[in-house]
């Protein structure tokens, strides 16, 4: 094999940077949120669909996913852009979306940056929340059944930091759904 010329080494290093930096960046940002983010519990609804590349997952939807706002906070042309949503905790320990804004909150790092859709019918924003919880294909159907049987005691544990939300796990009666046999 020939030795690489200086130009070829430069091209090769640039290629490695592009190939590895993107996935590593994705991993680092998620790990940071998992490590330092504030923990919240949300009630969810779930069912079991399939992704052609990543196998089975539980499709989850947050029960509390709306924030009241008398008027839309952005003009129509920017309706589909990102918003900052603050998360609060109710007396029962579960979380809810407290307020929505188009500016980054400065007093806390526990906010979630996401898209939201305004409805003039009930003057609320519907917040776009995480929808996928990947599971082993052997367990996902069983997980859906367990979930349906214990719908009142099922919730998703998440961590939030600087606009990023990462799922820790779905729990039924306090037990991680992946570990239920």
């Amino acid at each position: 094999m020939n030795k690489l010329t200086q130009r070829q080494i430069f091209v090769y290093i640039a290629l490695l940077m592009i190939l590895f930096c993107i996935p590593i960046y994705i991993i680092i940002t998620n790990t940071q949120t998992l490590k330092d983010g504030e923990e919240f519990l949300f009630k969810v609804a779930a069912y079991d669909p399939y992704d052609m590349f990543r196998g089975n997952y539980l499709d989850i939807s947050f029960e509390e996913n709306q924030v009241y706002s008398y008027n839309p906070i952005k003009p129509n042309s920017e309706m589909n852009s990102s918003y900052y949503v603050k998360i609060g905790k109710k007396s029962d320990g579960f979380a809810y979306f407290q307020s929505i804004s188009d500016t980054k909150p400065t007093e806390t790092s526990s906010y979630y940056k996401t898209k939201a859709y305004y409805s003039r019918v009930n003057n609320t924003y519907t917040i776009e929340t995480p929808t996928r919880y990947y599971m082993n294909e052997k367990k996902s159907l069983r997980a859906e059944t367990i979930y349906q049987e214990n719908i009142e005691n099922a919730y998703v544990k998440i961590r939030v930091k600087d606009g990023k939300m990462v799922i820790l796990g779905i729990y039924v009666n306090g037990i991680l759904i992946d570990t239920i046999e």
């Binding site: 020939n2 190939l19 993107i22 998992l34 196998g55 996928r132 799922i167």
Partner: protein, 410 residues
């Protein structure tokens, strides 16, 4: 003689014509003579071996996937980088040796390894990413490889990924492709042709291809509201293939029809088990434009004499317009695709045209991949199927090699 040497000879021959040393007729005769000496670097044995290795690699990956739950998170992350590390080693060899064979293997392996790594990472961390978004990130990562390798295979695979991306973004995300993304997706074609033109200034072919593509992009920019962006991208790539074919020795119209047919069949296969997409395809402008283009080509060229596939194309188009049971439609399209692939392999083998055999293999392979990935089979069954199919490709490659007496380039 490889393609570069053949092109060099053609260049020198055209210089002789320009200097009136030989006549135009003599040039054509000499060109025909040298064309026969051109050995296809992408031989059947190489392709079969590459496909075999790829399928066995997929089999190993699916075995890991089967036991995924029991593996610790850190190890999972490390495993997800293995395909990328292999691609990096292959790319090093490509840059260092410039071997056509390694370059071909890498063109096939790299996009799959990138998609595999991204899929695994998003799965491990439950990252909220739609298929379209993941495909887009994978294509951004694959783009530099396309430019470094600069072979038709990587460009075609990029084009194929582009089409899948364009289809998924409309079908699953409910979002339209933005103009910026449309340009980005079509960009490699323009840069690719432009670099080829700059590096090989005598080649009027590259210049013409570059011009044609620029015109197409301009049309796209102005006709965004007329055609759906995903369909437009399909046409950009289709027209690019046509421009390549324009300069080959085959009947251009026949080639265009064949390419149209293969592309449409693949799209139908992917979409045939997606209820929403069938509805979308049935009444879409793409079906209408394809039917019209096919009709014009048939009328102008009487190509139906050469291209029997046109009858199957019309059949596929017609059944998509009927209110046929969706399951039956799914089975029919898949059977048609397998039959067409097998026909290509047998016909190519009979006529000793390995290009045809390769087309047949590619069609069947794409179908296998689509069906395996999109089926409800568990990972262990998928792994066994990949292993069996991969091994049969390698065994076939060895049988062919032995029959050819080791002369794998023939």
């Amino acid at each position: 003689m490889n393609n570069k040497e053949y092109n060099f000879l053609r260049l020198k021959l055209s210089e002789l014509v320009n200097n009136s040393i030989i006549s135009r007729e003599q040039y054509v005769e000499a060109d025909k003579h040298f064309y026969n000496y051109r050995k296809d670097k992408t031989s059947l044995v190489t392709i079969f071996t590459a496909i075999g290795v790829l399928l066995i690699a997929l089999s190993i990956i699916t075995v890991f996937a089967f036991n995924w739950d029991t593996i610790p998170k850190g190890v999972k992350v490390l495993i997800s980088f293995i395909p990328l590390i292999i691609t990096s080693v292959m790319m090093y060899r490509c840059i260092a040796t410039k071997e056509d064979k390694i370059s071909l293997y890498t063109s096939i392996f790299a996009p799959l390894s990138i998609i595999a790594t991204n899929s695994l990472i998003t799965q491990i961390f439950h990252i909220q990413m739609e298929i379209a978004e993941m495909f887009f990130i994978s294509m951004v990562m694959f783009l530099p490889i396309v430019f470094i390798l600069r072979n038709h295979m990587s460009l075609l695979i990029y084009g194929f990924c582009t089409i899948i991306y364009a289809m998924t973004i409309n079908t699953f995300s409910g979002e339209d492709l933005t103009l910026l993304k449309t340009i980005f997706l079509a960009l490699p074609l323009f840069i690719y042709n432009f670099i080829n033109y700059v590096e090989n200034k005598d080649s009027s072919k590259n210049m013409l291809m570059w011009l044609i593509n620029t015109i197409i992009l301009s049309i796209v920019l102005f006709s965004k509201e007329v055609l759906r962006p995903d369909v437009t991208i399909i046409y950009i790539y289709l027209l690019h293939l046509i421009t390549i074919k324009l300069f080959e020795k085959e009947n251009v119209i026949s080639s265009v029809l064949r390419l149209m047919f293969i592309l449409y069949l693949i799209i139908s296969c992917i979409s045939s088990d997606m209820l929403g997409y069938i509805e979308y395809m049935k009444f879409g402008t793409d079906t209408l434009i394809l039917s019209l283009t096919a009709a014009i080509f048939i009328y102008l060229s009487k190509a139906y004499k050469d291209v029997k596939e046109i009858f199957i194309l019309i059949f596929v188009l017609l059944i998509q317009y009927t209110k046929m049971d969706l399951e039956l439609l799914f089975i029919l399209i898949n059977i048609l695709t397998i039959a067409y692939g097998v026909y290509k392999i047998i016909d190519g083998n009979h006529k000793n045209v390995y290009g045809k055999v390769m087309q047949g293999v590619a069609i069947i392979l794409i179908l296998i991949m689509i069906r395996f990935m999109n089926s409800d089979l568990d990972f262990l069954s998928k792994s066994i199927m990949f292993l069996i199919t991969g091994s049969s490709f390698i065994i076939s490659a060895n049988v062919i090699k032995k029959r050819l007496g080791g002369n794998i380039n023939e």
